[in-house]
Structures are given as structure tokens and as C-alpha cells.
Symmetry: C2
Subunit: 389 residues, 2 copies
């Protein structure tokens, strides 16, 4: 049984209505394509709702790479992208170029900041602050233990829940159909061509299919190549300070503090390989608060608002999976790991280019084919105490 007649056949079906899937749908609809987005839950109910919304390519990357270029380009799209999005959706998404300060609380941590020196040599905006500058710029709320900091003035924040809601709304206004509670079981593949998807309700035919299902992107085990995307849990605590939150993002070795409206503050995050388990754990809540209070002692007096967990889509080499594959008409836009919110605008643009016949080579380093036998396996993501968004 088909659930859509030929007249209803979308040009593109996107599996997954997170920030990436909705951004791509919005972009494609702007280019005149008929798009349907299917989601096993609802728009933005998984990792996109759980993210802290840090937009920090520079502070997050310690060495140059194609990934760094991708992330930086996506950050530069943000202001204009958000402007159009807010106009079209009628919603505000909380984007702010706050700047981000990596604080060192010891000489050893300060020494680690030398790994950013290449960014200065490349002419990127980055500032080294000594203890006096840190104290002056952040004020007495920061611990007096801060010995120095590296400031990234172009980095900022967005509210991922509001962003994804706005993306879904803007996409709908461009004619995109978003079907919630619709689980795709497998791709509908015939003679190495993807003709659509198979859901519980039957087949849905489409010109192209994009797998933007985040941590669930490997759902079709019948593909002739691996899609090694796995969930990595991240937990976040939301607090409310008696006064306004700091104007910038404070980033220590173990946690980051993201300001939200009206004195609210997010403390993130953990990095846990525990499968599809979204529990918030007592130990994570305790440790996040303890580490945050090391950076900003008044945290102990802050109101505990709530805590949550989300599942980042991670690949073995910690890089996204973007573009086509050996099956005609089947594309991937997943594996964004800690950077789905940051990479949403550029992912949408590049995938839309690829799907509408615009030439691009930017996706090549991120092809799913790199995981097939013959290709050398990349490094696994660090399972240590590294901090993630």
C-alpha cells in the first residue's frame, strides 16, 4: 500500500525533523522543491532540543582541518540565516554573538591554550587575556583562581529549541509537510536506486531521500555499506541566577556556562557512550554543578531549574556524514555529533546544492563511503573528560 499518490509524490523526503532536517527542508523548499519530513517523534524533540546551542568552531577545534573550515563557514552564515528565519517564521531564536572565554584555572590549563596559536597566525579573531584582563572583562563573579583566558569574540549562542521550532515553522510556510510520529523502517531501494521510504503505513515514493535521523541514522541495517552513527549522551543542567547571567560564554576545562534569557544559565555537558538511554544521572548533575561552581562560585546559590539529556549522533572519526552514496537518490546529513546546531545552515546549503545539481566538492571529506572496507578507519572520538555541546 502506498500512502501517497503520484500527485503527492514529494521531490525529497527527509528522514528526521531535527535542526538539520528542518533546515534542509526549508532550504530546498526555497529552491522550489516539494519536501516532506518524517520523524519518529516530532520536530526537534531529540538532540536538537537537548543541545546547549554553543556556536564555537574556533574554541572547539585545536588544529586546522576541512571540518574546521566547514564549521567556521557555517558560523559566518548564522547572522543572515537567522535574520531571514526569524522574519519568515515570526519567531525569535535567541541568537547572540556573545563571545566565548576559555578560562584557565591553572598554569597547566593556560599552557594548553597554546594549541590555539595557529588561529592567530591564520588571522582569525582571537584574544589572549591575562589574569587582570579576565578579571576586568568578566568581573568579580568569575573565580579569582582564573589565571588567564583565550577569548573568541565571534562565537556565540542560539536557543536550539526555539531555532528548531522556527525552522519547522518556516519550512511549513514554504509548503513543507512535516509528519510526526512516522517511523521510517527502511529505504525503498530497487536496482541501486532509492525510490522512497517504507514506513509502518506503507511506502512513500520520492525523487530523493535524505537520512537526517541523527543518532538513529543507521536504522536501515539492510544497506550494502555501514552507516556507523552511534548515540553519545550529553547531560545539561539549567540554573537560574539571582542576577543576570554573564554576558559571554564561560568555558572551563570540564564544563561550559551558556547564558540564557532572564538570568538562566546552562551548564554542560557530559560525554557518555551508553546507547539509546536518555536518563539524567545523579552523578552527572552533581559533577556539572560542582565544576560550574569552581568557575563561578555564586552557582551554588543559583536556583536549580531542571536537567536533561540528549543523544548526539557520533561517527567513529567524529566527523559528519554528508552527501550521496553508492545508491542513487539516497543522501546523508547526519553524524554532526557536537555541532549539529552550528552546522545546520551550511549543511542545508551544501546538501541542497547537491540535490539541485549545483556543483560542490565541499562534501567529499564527509562521504559515508569512508567507512566502507578498504577506506582507512579514522580515529575514534575521545572518550575522556572532554567537554561537548
Amino acid at each position: 500500500m502506498a500512502i501517497a499518490g503520484a500527485a503527492d509524490r514529494p521531490d525529497v523526503v527527509i528522514v528526521g525533523a531535527g535542526a538539520v532536517g528542518c533546515a534542509l527542508a526549508w532550504e530546498l523548499a526555497g529552491r522550489g522543491r516539494r519536501v516532506a519530513v518524517l520523524d519518529r517523534a516530532g520536530a526537534g524533540e531529540e538532540a536538537s532540543a537537548a543541545a546547549a546551542g554553543l556556536l564555537s568552531p574556533q574554541s572547539d577545534v585545536r588544529s586546522p582541518s576541512p571540518f574546521f573550515d566547514l564549521a567556521l563557514r557555517s558560523l559566518r552564515l548564522y547572522p543572515e540565516w537567522v535574520r531571514v528565519l526569524e522574519e519568515e517564521s515570526g519567531e525569535r531564536v535567541g541568537y547572540r554573538r556573545t563571545g566565548l572565554l576559555r578560562c584557565a584555572l591553572s598554569d597547566q590549563e593556560a599552557e594548553g591554550h597554546r594549541s590555539y596559536l595557529w588561529q592567530r597566525e591564520r588571522g582569525l579573531p582571537i584574544e589572549w587575556w591575562d589574569a587582570a584582563a579576565v578579571a576586568e572583562r568578566v568581573g568579580p563573579r568569575l573565580t579569582s583562581e582564573a589565571t588567564s583566558g583565550v577569548f573568541f569574540p565571534d562565537e556565540g549562542v542560539v536557543d536550539p529549541r526555539r531555532l528548531t521550532r522556527a525552522l519547522a515553522e518556516a519550512a511549513r510556510r514554504r509548503g513543507v509537510e512535516i509528519r510526526a510520529r512516522t517511523e521510517v523502517r527502511r529505504f525503498w531501494v530497487e536496482r541501486s536506486r532509492c525510490r522512497g521510504v517504507e514506513t509502518e503505513a506503507g511506502r512513500l515514493e520520492a525523487g530523493s531521500v535524505v537520512d537526517a535521523a541523527g543518532a538513529w541514522a543507521g536504522f536501515d541495517r539492510g544497506l550494502p555499506f555501514p552507516v556507523p552513527v552511534e548515540p553519545v549522551r550529553g547531560q545539561i543542567v539549567e540554573l537560574e541566577l539571582p542576577a543576570e547571567a554573564p554576558a559571554l560564554v564561560l568555558h572551563g576545562e570540564a564544563v561550559y556556562l551558556v547564558p540564557r534569557r532572564e538570568g538562566h544559565l546552562l551548564v554542560g555537558s557530559t560525554l557518555e557512550h551508553v546507547g539509546f538511554r536518555k536518563e539524567v544521572t545523579a552523578g552527572a548533575v552533581q559533577n556539572l554543578i560542582a565544576q560550574a561552581a569552581r568557575l563561578m562560585p555564586e552557582i551554588s546559590q543559583a536556583r536549580f531549574v531542571t536537567a536533561w539529556a540528549g543523544l548526539r549522533p557520533a561517527t567513529p572519526d567524529a566527523l559528519p556524514v554528508l552527501g550521496g552514496c553508492g545508491i542513487e537518490g539516497l543522501f546523508f546529513a547526519t553524524g554532526h555529533y557536537r555541532n549539529g546546531i552550528l552546522l545546520a545552515p551550511l549543511t542545508a546549503r551544501l546538501l541542497a546544492d547537491r540535490l539541485t545539481g549545483v556543483e560542490t566538492r565541499d562534501l567529499e571529506p564527509f562521504a559515508v563511503s569512508r567507512f566502507s572496507s578498504g577506506a582507512p578507519p579514522g580515529p575514534t572520538p575521545s572518550p575522556s573528560s572532554e567537554v561537548f555541546r
Copy 2:
């Protein structure tokens, strides 16, 4: 304007629909009295909903006193009281005689347990366990740092929310009227006689009035004597363990762990003089979890369920305020501090005796008159790291 005609005039109006107010209403109705309970919020929405439900007079009191006798008598009422309550209300209240273990994690803490020796001399049920006995009786979930423990086999737990709901329901079935969202502004006193109460909607006449308003009991500033009841905040964290919670209450120096159904566990509690502020704070959540994990390391892996705060009604000498005063027809049943749930059955019985003319001298040590000038002030409650329910 009166809001009730003479035909509606209750024999007793109780201000405050917490566990104490509802228990007294239920008791009085059982003795044939017409009772109305007024509450600024709703039944059991304040401290009674926030309590952990520890029933632990022995482990909580370090020296003999009239208060100890009161608490112990109330504990002994529990089994039969709960049996009748559950039968009448049709609800289960989670009462269990679990026993409570005071664990020592150092020789110094063990030394402190000598302050319980008088209870053994008095023939009360109490057991001294060495490290081997503690390990055997509690199992490997308890930290191996436990050096010894004192076990109180008669102590236990109840679920205060279900208890208060059952009390309100049982009271209603005996004809008690419970009026939520009804704030009493002051007592209606004429010529040293309390004729009823004054609410926003007007006066309500009553044969007698009982102030059971918990931390709000001092609301009428116009009385000719002080009712020095102040709020003391307590915060509790609720967790869910992967396996069943321990069968008994585990009590360390800094926190206690109260088992609930289906692997749930309460970790309490703080003691904070912060006025009528019910915020949950980041520092308290962090510290409660950290201290709990010291007792039971698996706590770090437990699911964080929620956290809340309540306001205990505390007096300067940490004893309740029970019985009559210089104003005829006006009575008090408040200031129960850490023991409102434990003391509810006996408070209800003794106050009902007093209101129905049964002779009792048990209330004398707890009269509100002890705070009037001339009477020597008692000690203030310890503001230290002492643990409270």
C-alpha cells in the same frame, strides 16, 4: 459580611490543611464535631508534601525529654492509625516499619553514637552493629568505609503526600469541609474570646479555632502574645536506582536515604534559614548527591528524578506549639519543625482531647505561653550541618 450562616457554623475551624490540620479534622469529626479546614493553598501542598516521611524519634533525639516521649508515643500510634486511615480513605499511604541504620564512616562518627546509650538503658529497641554486621545486614551496596552502625528496628517511613491526601479524603468522608484557596487574615477575637476567623470573603464563626498553619502560623500579628514560628527550608532530591532501593533507611552524618517504591530513593535534607523561599538550589542538589554517594556509591549512576524544597515550621526552642492560649477558644497545633508527619497522629489525639474536654496535661510543655516575656527563652535550633527531615 459573614460567609456562613448560624446553621453552617462549624464547631471547629482549623487553619491549615497539612498533615496535622487534616489529621485533627479527621479525629474531631470522628468525635462528632462539625469541622471546616481552611487553607491558603490546598490540602497538603506545603511542608506535608515536601517531607521525606521519616518516622524516627529514637535516632533523631540524643537525650530524654518530654518531646522524645511525645514523638515515641506518636510512632507507636502509627500502625493502627494507618490501618484505620487506609480503610476509611481507600488509599495506601506507604507506611513501612523498615528500621533505620545510623551509619558511621569514621571512628569519630562512631563515637558520636554513644549519645544513644541511654535508650538501651531505658529498654528501647536499639542495636549496635559492628562493621561486619553492617556489611552483612545492608550488603555490598553500602560503602565499605562504614565502620559501624546503630540500628533502630521500630523506625520507618510513610509517604507524606499520600498520607495527607488520605487524611483529607478520610476527613471529608466524615463530613469535614476543606476549603482550598482560602486565606485567613486574622483571628476574630472579641473580649479575649476567639469567635472565628476573618478571611478575604468575610468572617467565619466557629466554636473553636485551631491554628495549624505550619510555617505561616504566625500570620496574625495582632495577637497579644508572640507566635514565633519561622520557616526553615529543607531540600530533597529524588533518585531512581537501577535495582530495588535498600530495605531500610540509611542515615549518615550529612544525609539520609529513604527508600520508596520501585527503586526510588529520597536523599535529604538541608536546613536553611532563608525565609519563605522554596527554591531548590544548585549547591544543595550537588551536596546532597555527593554525600549520598559517599554512603552508597551506586548513587552516582542513579537516575535523577526531581528535587524540591519545603518550609518546616520552626520555633526558637525547636519544640512544637500545642494547646490553648490566653484567648478562649483559640488553640495551636504548629511548630512541628522536622516532625510534623511523625507527630500528626498524637497531635490530633491530644488536641481533640483538649477541644472535647478530655483532661490532658501532655500539652503543657508545649504551650505558646512559653514565648511570652517572663518565660525563659529556650535554646535556638542548631543552624549547623545537622540533618533534618
